[in-house]
Subunit: 143 residues, 2 copies
DNA sequence: CAGTATCCCTTTTGATACTG
DNA sequence: CAGTATCAAAAGGGATACTG
């Protein structure tokens, strides 16, 4: 632990622990830049919602509970910029704009899906852990 | 798309599309609460770093580039509260505090790992998409 | 060493009003 | 309908000083 090689965790796909994948954790690295986008509250929800379906702006707005018009716009633009979502504008009046996942977005969704499923599967454990933590904290505060 | 069942994406594990997993997207639902924690800048990094190793506070501070002492403390407390990280205090002078993943944390790390790997594998595509988007935007701004 | 407490600045987000 | 623009509120986060 004192030799400096422990700095980055290795996402090694092989047998040894430090060859294949070395994670760059610099604040300005690409992985961090992308993760900051992906690991975003609204992005995750939007990507999940666009699973195998095209949705209009207003549909998304109604479905993603709590999102403001502004944040939905911002989120969709970022996802579009990252090549995860395709935006199609139909030149009609009133305007009709549809959003759908790109192939890249679909591949990300596969990963996100497992995250959401993990969350669903473990929400009780987490909820219990929180209660227990809070209980102990309260107990400690009394004494 | 107009029948109301399209509201929640189905994370169906079976053959049909709406039975097994229905995602609750209410703003106050458990999944959202937990996802907000997981989808956090520092949490992801800390969990990844604690992969198969125990680390001291100062080690984490040095390794997670850019994190402040305050944010590291806050992040670790949240992870501990959620039952993802175990905090062990050794009653020595100077204090020695070690952090490690709990079994729950380890299982989450498996999922996060695939997210990080996805990011690494697709960073070039995303980078290209961003350049292309920005180029078109600039082009549109000129006209 | 491993924090906590405080202050303060910056970024993010939400509400509101307006537009092609 | 699907935005954009603007402003205000809130959260996030950094720097510093202090403590068991």
């Amino acid at each position: 632990m004192e030799d400096g090689t422990s700095k980055a965790p290795s996402y090694c796909t092989g047998t040894d622990a430090d060859q294949a994948r070395q994670w760059d954790v610099r604040a300005d690295c690409d992985v961090r830049n992308i993760l900051d986008r992906v690991a975003d509250k609204w992005s995750l929800l939007v990507i999940a919602l666009l699973d195998r379906q095209t949705m209009r702006f207003s549909e998304l707005r109604r479905t993603v509970d709590g999102v403001s018009q502004r944040m939905l716009t911002v989120t969709l633009r970022r996802l579009e910029r990252d090549g995860l979502v395709r935006r199609t504008v139909y030149p009609v009046v009133p305007p009709r704009v549809e959003y759908e996942l790109t192939p890249l977005g679909i591949s990300l969704h596969e990963v996100i899906k497992s995250l959401v499923i993990w969350t669903e599967d473990h929400q009780q454990e987490i909820s219990d852990a929180r209660s227990e933590f809070d209980r102990r904290e309260l107990e400690a505060a009394v004494s």
